[in-house]
C-alpha cells in the first residue's frame, strides 16, 4: 500500500483493493488507517482497526497471538544489485563484507542477520522500502534483499539496478485480526477463497502488475486447502525472542548509542563554544550569521536535518550513516550549546572582567582564565541536561539506518510481539547511562558551589 501520487491523502495499492473487497462482502464501508508498517500488528492488538494488512508476512509466531487469514499472495525474497555486480552476486553468500540493506523486523532482515554470522555480510536496516534502493544506486549499500513486489516497484520507479531472478526464500502475505476476532477471520477466509475462485483477486493483481504463473499455482493450493507453509524464517522464533538472544544485541546497540552521543556532544561543545565566542566577541556581521545558524537549527526538526544531511546531500557528499548521525546531532546540539555558553558568558559580572583587565591580562587570557572557567560552572547543569536529552534524541538516527538502542528494541519488540519486556530492558539501559551522569554533574556542581 502506498500514498496516491495525485492525492497523497488517499491510499492505493492491491492491499487497498483487496481490503475494499473484504469490507464489501462483510457489508461494511472500508475505513483506511495508516500506521507505520512495523506497527500494524501492534495496532491490531490495540484495537486501532479490525483488520491489518499491507504486505504482512505470515510466520508461525503470528498465529500464536492473532487470528490470521489465509495467505492471499505468495512473494519471493529477491536480491537487487547494481548491474556491475549482477554476474557475480546471486546469493547472500556472495556478499561477504558487503553492505546488504533491507527493512527492519522482516523475514528478509532475519535472513540478512543470519547471513551476517554465516557469510559475514553487513546488515543495514531501513524503515522504508524506497531508500534501500536509492542507496543501492548511489553505492551506499551493495545489495537489497526484499520481496519481489517491492523490488519490482522500485525498479520501475527508480531503476538503475538489477533484480536477480532466483528467489532466496518464499513467503505469504496475510491479513491479521485480533485473536478474539476468529469468527470474522473465518468470514474473511470465505471471501478470499470466493475471490480466488471467481478470478477477481487475479484481476486485482494483474492490474498492479504482480500476477504471474506462480500465483496461479499458489491459489490452486490454497483452494485445495493444501496451504503451502511459508518457508520458515532462517532464525528460530523461540530463540529469536528470548532475552538471552537479544540482550547482547541490545547492549551492542547501547554502545552505539553511547558512542554516538559522546561524539556528537563533543562536536556540539566544540562548535557551540566557537559559536558562543563569535556571538559575544565577534563583529556585527559575524554575529548575524551565527545567530541565523542558531535560529535555523533550533527552528527546524532535527529529523528533517538528518534527512537532508543523509539523503538530501547525498549527491554532493555521501556520508556514511554513523558519521552523518554524529555530524547531524552535533550540528543540531551545537546551536543549543552555544545559547547556553553565550548566556553563561554574559552572566559573568562586568566587575570580574574589569578586575582582570587591571591585572594586565589580555582579552584572550581573560576569556581563558577568568570568564570561561566561571561561565563553565554556570553552564554545567544545562549541559548535563542537554547530554541526557541527546542520549535519547540519538534514537532519531534510526531514520538514517543507524541501528541504535531504540531501533534494536523496536526490532526485538516486533519479533517478540510485545513491547513489555523489550521496552523495560531498553528503559533500564537508558537509565543506566543517564543517571550516573546526572549524579556526577550534581556532585561537581556541589563542589564548585562550595568553591
Amino acid at each position: 500500500m502506498e500514498a496516491d501520487l495525485v492525492d497523497p491523502t488517499r491510499v492505493r495499492g492491491f492491499d487497498v483493493e483487496i481490503a475494499t473487497m473484504l469490507a464489501q462482502s462483510l457489508g461494511r464501508e472500508p475505513q483506511f488507517v495508516q500506521v507505520a508498517w512495523a506497527s500494524i500488528e501492534q495496532s491490531v492488538a490495540r484495537g486501532d482497526f479490525t483488520i491489518g494488512m499491507s504486505g504482512l508476512e505470515d510466520r508461525p509466531a503470528l498465529h500464536e497471538r492473532f487470528a490470521v487469514s489465509l495467505p492471499y499472495y505468495e512473494f519471493r525474497e529477491v536480491l537487487a544489485v547494481r548491474a556491475a555486480d549482477s554476474a557475480r552476486v546471486h546469493t547472500l553468500a556472495d556478499l561477504r563484507g558487503r553492505r546488504v540493506a533491507t527493512l527492519g523486523a522482516t523475514m528478509a532482515w532475519d535472513m540478512v542477520l543470519a547471513a551476517k554470522s554465516a557469510h559475514g555480510v553487513v546488515p543495514v536496516s531501513y524503515d522504508d522500502d524506497v531508500h534501500p534502493y536509492t542507496d543501492l544506486v548511489s553505492g551506499r549499500v551493495d545489495a537489497v534483499l526484499l520481496d519481489h513486489v517491492l523490488a519490482e516497484r522500485s525498479r520501475r520507479r527508480i531503476g538503475g539496478f538489477v533484480i536477480q531472478p532466483d528467489a532466496l526464500a518464499r513467503g505469504h502475505y496475510v491479513a491479521v485480526l485480533a485473536a478474539g476476532d476468529s469468527a470474522l477471520r473465518d468470514s474473511v477466509n470465505i471471501t478470499l477463497r470466493a475471490r480466488m475462485r471467481d478470478g477477481s483477486l487475479e484481476r486485482v493483481f494483474r492490474s498492479w502488475n504482480v500476477w504471474d504463473a506462480q500465483q496461479a499455482a499458489f491459489q490452486q493450493q490454497v483452494l485445495r486447502d493444501s496451504v503451502p507453509r511459508s518457508e520458515t524464517r532462517t532464525v528460530d522464533r523461540d530463540t529469536a525472542t528470548s532475552i538471552t538472544t537479544y540482550l547482547p544485541a541490545l547492549l551492542r546497540a547501547a554502545v552505539i548509542t553511547l558512542l554516538l552521543s559522546v561524539l556528537a556532544m563533543a562536536l556540539a561543545i566544540t562548535l557551540g563554544a566557537g559559536l558562543a565566542a563569535g556571538r559575544v566577541y565577534g563583529g556585527r556581521p559575524l554575529q548575524m550569521v551565527l545567530t541565523a545558524y542558531v535560529e535555523i537549527i533550533r527552528g527546524t526538526p532535527v529529523l528533517l536535518q538528518l534527512f537532508v544531511l543523509y539523503y538530501g546531500l547525498s549527491d554532493v557528499v555521501r556520508l556514511p550513516a554513523f558519521a552523518a548521525a554524529v555530524i547531524g546531532l552535533g550540528l543540531n546540539y551545537a546551536a543549543y550549546e552555544s545559547e547556553i555558553y553565550r548566556a553563561a558568558l554574559e552572566a559573568i559580572p562586568a566587575l570580574q572582567l574589569e578586575a582582570a583587565r587591571t591585572l594586565g591580562l589580555s582579552e584572550g587570557q581573560i576569556l581563558r582564565l577568568v570568564r570561561g572557567p566561571q561561565a563553565l560552572r554556570l553552564a554545567l547543569a544545562p549541559m548535563t541536561n542537554d547530554f541526557v536529552a541527546l542520549l535519547k534524541d540519538s534514537s532519531l538516527v534510526s531514520v538514517i539506518t543507524v541501528v541504535e538502542l531504540t531501533k534494536q528494541t523496536a526490532i526485538y519488540a516486533t519479533n517478540a510481539g510485545s513491547w513489555a519486556l523489550p521496552g523495560a530492558l531498553c528503559a533500564l539501559v537508558y537509565l543506566a547511562m543517564s543517571l550516573p551522569l546526572s549524579r556526577m554533574a550534581r556532585r561537581l556542581e556541589q563542589r564548585w558551589k562550595i568553591a
Binding site: L351, E354, R357, T358, G360, L361, S362, R377, I450, A451
Partner: protein, 251 residues
C-alpha cells in the same frame, strides 16, 4: 601609544581632566598629583566624581580631554585603548575594588599569582613565593588556599590588596577600603597603607571616611561638582575646613 617621560617624584599627574557619561559632565578640569610615597585621600559627596577619577586613572573609563600620566606613562583622551596597548600602564597601577572582585573560581593565592604568571610571565614557583610573602605581610597567609566565598570581608580585602600589589605597581588605587571594616581592621588597614607608602608607592584612596583619612592620609582632596573644592594636608583640611563641601563631609 604610551611613552616614557621623565618625572621624578610624581607618581600620578592629572591636568585639566574632563570626563563624563554621554552628555553629562562629571569631571570638569580636575588637577591632581600624587607623589611617590604619598597617601592621597579623595573625598566628596556622592556624585562629586570620586569614582570617576579612579576609573579614568585605572583606564577602565574614557576621558574627553586633559592629561593623565602615571610614572611616565601617559593616557590619551578618547576611547580606552585595547589591553595590548595598556601593558605599561597596567604594570604601574594596581586597583583594589570596593567589593574586592576576587575571582570566585580561584583560591586566594591563585588570585594573587594570576597576574605575575600570566601577564608578567613569571615562573609559578617565584610567583607563588612572592604571593605567599604578600599574603604574609598582610596577615592573611593562613587563608592562602581558601576560596573567596570562604573569606570574611576583611580577609577578602587583604587578598585583594595582595593581588593588586603582586605586579609591584608604583600607584595603588583603593575604592572605599574602609566601608566594610570594623575599627580594629580599619586600624590594621591604615598601618598597611602607611607601610606601602613607606615603600615609595603612591596611594590614591577614594573614601568618605574622614577619620580614616585624617589618621592615615598625607593629603586630602575634596571634590565638588567634578573639580577640586579644597585640598591640603589631611589634618588641616579636615580640622579647619574652608569649603562647604568639606563641611558637608564632616557633619
Amino acid at each position: 601609544m604610551s611613552h616614557e617621560i621623565a618625572l621624578r617624584g610624581i607618581t600620578l599627574r592629572v591636568r585639566a581632566l574632563h570626563a563624563g557619561h554621554g552628555d553629562r559632565a562629571i569631571l570638569r578640569g580636575l588637577d591632581l598629583d600624587v607623589a611617590e610615597g604619598e597617601v592621597c585621600a579623595v573625598m566628596g559627596v556622592s556624585g562629586a566624581g570620586k569614582t570617576t577619577v579612579l576609573r579614568v586613572v585605572a583606564a577602565l573609563q574614557p576621558f574627553s580631554s586633559g592629561t593623565v600620566e602615571i610614572s611616565g606613562v601617559a593616557l590619551r583622551p578618547g576611547a580606552v585603548p585595547p589591553e595590548s596597548q595598556l601593558r605599561a600602564l597596567r604594570r604601574r597601577v594596581g586597583v583594589v575594588f570596593q567589593s574586592h572582585a576576587l575571582f570566585e573560581h580561584l583560591t586566594a593565592i591563585e588570585n594573587v599569582m594570576l597576574a605575575p604568571v600570566h601577564a608578567l610571565g613569571q615562573s609559578r614557583a617565584s610567583a607563588e613565593a612572592t604571593a605567599m610573602r604578600l599574603l604574609e605581610s598582610l596577615g592573611v597567609s593562613a587563608r592562602a588556599n581558601a576560596y573567596p566565598r570562604q573569606l570574611s570581608g576583611g580577609e577578602a580585602q587583604r587578598v585583594a590588596i595582595a593581588r593588586a600589589l603582586a605586579p609591584d605597581p608604583q600607584l595603588l588605587l583603593m575604592d572605599e577600603p574602609t566601608s566594610a571594616l570594623d575599627p580594629a581592621r580599619r586600624a590594621a588597614l591604615g598601618e598597611s597603607v602607611r607601610a606601602l607608602a613607606a615603600q615609595g608607592r603612591g596611594l590614591l584612596i577614594v573614601t568618605h571616611d574622614a577619620a580614616f583619612a585624617r589618621s592615615y592620609a598625607d593629603r586630602v582632596v575634596v571634590l565638588s561638582h567634578g573639580a577640586i573644592a579644597e585640598e591640603g594636608p589631611a589634618n588641616q583640611v579636615l580640622t579647619h575646613p574652608t569649603h562647604d563641601a568639606t563641611r558637608a563631609l564632616l557633619s
